[in-house]
């Protein structure tokens, strides 16, 4: 029982980690809580839905769906950044935050009125379910194909993200912009391009998370991104916002906590537990597990 719950928690945690990575990267570079990030998950899930519906749900079309939704969401993410956030780059933080909330509502309600998306929830096409049932220490453990796909795809995504950020030129530029935007700009880095690139990568990660989330909980609707988005933000804060390994750890801790509190405390109160953790973390260690504490500059 416990082992089974842990497996479920891990798979959910990997999805949260993928979303949290986008939050953390965007926050690290422009210091903005991108409220519209959860909606990228929704758009990614819908794109996957259309691809899978058109070509049928097989492992190869799933890979196609992942790539198409990454591409679509990256474009939409950059478009939103250019249209809504860029004009406000030097505005007070509170204004940008409000615009982010506005962008989120716009995407959600916009998808609601689009005829091909619509307000009604839709069934997500699923792969043929094959589960391996194993006995571990006398307990029956079910490992479904979806869970394996979630974990494998997430690991690939995280590894490639880590590679891009650590070992490529553009990754180096991203790190330098997040450390000091002005200094990076003086060193000849095109800051606007780097910010757009960050939004593109973050949105693509959210799109992957969306397709995986929808294949695990097979339903899509315009407001599906809100709650996972919020929880992923909690995960990002938990791990230390701005820190990439922190987002992964935070996501997995959060996924396990949510599943365990659903199983052992109360399924209705699980969300309260998750948000309670956020409050607790911020009281005890506001910078999160991996975060560095910043000295306040006058």
């Amino acid at each position: 029982m416990l082992l089974q719950q842990l497996i479920n928690g891990f798979t959910l945690g990997f999805i949260y980690a993928l979303i949290a990575l986008g939050y953390t990267m965007v926050y690290g570079i422009v210091r903005l809580i991108n409220f519209a990030h959860g909606d990228m998950l929704m758009l990614g899930a819908y794109t996957g839905f259309f691809v899978l519906n058109a070509f049928g749900a097989t492992p190869s079309t799933l890979i196609l769906a992942l790539f198409v939704s990454m591409f679509v969401c990256a474009i939409i993410g950059v478009a939103i950044e250019r249209a809504f956030y860029k004009p406000l780059r030097n505005a007070p933080r509170i204004n940008i935050l409000i615009v982010a909330i506005g962008a989120s509502l716009l995407i959600e309600n916009g998808s609601r009125i689009l005829p091909f998306m619509g307000p009604n929830p839709r069934q997500y096409p699923q792969l043929e379910a094959t589960s391996t049932i194993t006995e571990v220490m006398g307990q029956r453990v079910v490992l479904s194909k979806q869970d394996v796909i979630v974990v494998v795809v997430s690991l690939i995504m995280m590894a490639s993200l880590g590679y891009v950020v650590k070992f490529t030129k553009i990754g180096k530029a991203m790190r330098s912009v997040s450390q000091d935007t002005r200094a990076a700009s003086l060193m000849g880095i095109n800051v606007n391009r780097i910010i757009s690139f960050t939004f593109a990568i973050g949105s693509a990660m959210a799109a992957v998370a969306g397709v995986l989330f929808a294949s695990k909980y097979p339903q899509v609707q315009p407001y599906m991104g809100i709650l996972p988005g919020l929880k992923a933000f909690v995960a990002a804060v938990l791990g230390g916002i701005g820190s990439i390994p922190g987002a992964m750890i935070g996501g997995i801790i959060l996924g396990i906590t949510e599943i365990l509190s659903k199983a052992y405390i109360s399924s209705k109160l699980a969300d309260a537990v998750v948000f309670g953790i956020l409050v607790l973390i911020l009281m005890v260690r506001p910078t999160g597990i991996m975060g560095k504490s910043l000295k306040e500059k006058v």
């Binding site: 809580i33 509170i94 409000i98 615009v99 506005g102 309600n109 919020l230 804060v237 409050v279």
Partner: protein, 346 residues
């Protein structure tokens, strides 16, 4: 100084006159019950937005959980009237007090946090409150909602005199609009006191005001608790206006609605909040014919506003009816003064 003393009776007369005229219009049917309800609802939105403006516009701390505070106030007021037979007026006050206790408990850990974190924690608290309200079935009716909350006219009065129900829209309007005036006076006077100056100094520069000896945390707490109290009062009024409460009415989107009012009116402008509150509540109803498209126009408006007029309608300016009236005498005084100055220079 002199104008302030003189303007009080003027304001009082003006307020009584406006409320009285509109109340008569509602009673004789010039303004129908539906429009009266929108007016009352707009009043509630204005009240809560005034509270939010105090913490977000004047103290500079973004709070995204005011729907949660409103929910606490609404349920506390409804339960105290329904279960403990309190008068409605007392119920509303109890709603405010209970909510301010929650404000104290929530504010104590969170107001030490800076900027974005506060926004997220208040958001999280709003969600937690909602989840808990759903789970406290015995007291709140759970997910099915709380039915049978009384009107502003008590049930006994209506039983005794069935005609009293005709007075419900008028009484709701008067009760709520008077509350708007009282809350406005409270916040306005607070901001013009030494407390208010300290609160505004926290917004302008927390580090600087701290080093000048302002207890920034203390003033943030004061602003937050008063803000919570006002939201609780607004919630109580909401309960008696609509007579039905459901936890889903108090979700994140509603918190955003209040924020939109504050931002539209101008963060740091009380009169701006009032204008925006009435205008936007009316607009929401007027745009109903657009059906779902309304949901798109609203956030789009918000974004465009933020990009092209980030200060809101009024910025941090205030619009004052007494100043308009006094403007004439002020101009005359100014002319006299400049004339006198000219004499002196000669």
């Amino acid at each position: 100084m002199l104008t302030k003393v003189r303007s009080f009776p003027l304001l009082l007369v003006l307020t009584v006159l406006i409320i009285g005229v509109i109340a008569v219009f509602i009673r004789i049917g010039v303004i129908n019950d539906y429009a009266a309800q929108i007016l009352s609802f707009a009043g509630i939105n204005v009240i809560i937005a005034l509270g939010l403006n105090l913490i977000t516009g004047f103290t500079g701390q973004l709070a995204l959980g005011h729907a949660g505070f409103m929910a606490i106030g609404a349920y506390a007021a409804a339960v105290s009237v329904m279960q403990f037979n309190m008068p409605i007026f007392v119920g509303v006050i109890i709603g405010g007090i209970v909510t301010s206790v929650f404000g104290l408990v929530i504010g104590f850990p969170t107001l030490r946090l800076k900027g974005d974190y506060l926004a997220i924690v208040t958001l999280a608290f709003g969600e937690i409150i909602r989840v808990i309200l759903v789970n406290m079935d015995a007291l709140t009716g759970g997910a099915a909602g709380l039915k049978g909350v009384p009107y502003f006219v008590s049930k006994e009065t209506i039983e005794k005199n069935p005609n009293a129900i005709l007075w419900v829209p008028v009484l709701s309007f008067i009760f709520i609009t008077l509350s708007v005036v009282i809350v406005l006076a409270l916040v306005h006077n607070l901001l013009n006191s030494s407390y208010g100056r300290a609160i505004i100094s926290v917004r302008e520069d927390e580090v600087a005001s701290g080093s000048m000896g302002v207890g920034t945390f203390r003033y943030k707490m004061i602003a937050f608790i008063i803000s919570a109290f006002i939201a609780g009062v607004g919630g109580g009024l909401y309960a008696f206006l609509f007579n039905y409460l459901n936890p889903t009415d108090f979700n994140f989107i509603r918190s955003v609605d209040f924020l939109i009012i504050v931002v539209f009116g101008g963060m740091g402008s009380l009169t701006g909040t009032i204008v925006a509150g009435y205008l936007l509540t009316y607009l929401q109803e007027a745009l109903r014919f657009l059906q779902d498209y309304r949901l798109v126009i609203y956030p789009l408006l918000l974004i465009i506003m933020m990009i092209f007029r980030p200060g809101g309608i009024l910025g941090s300016r205030e619009f004052s009816p007494t100043r308009l009236i006094h403007l004439k005498s002020f101009k005359k005084a100014l002319q006299r003064e400049t004339a006198a100055e000219r004499e002196e220079t000669k």
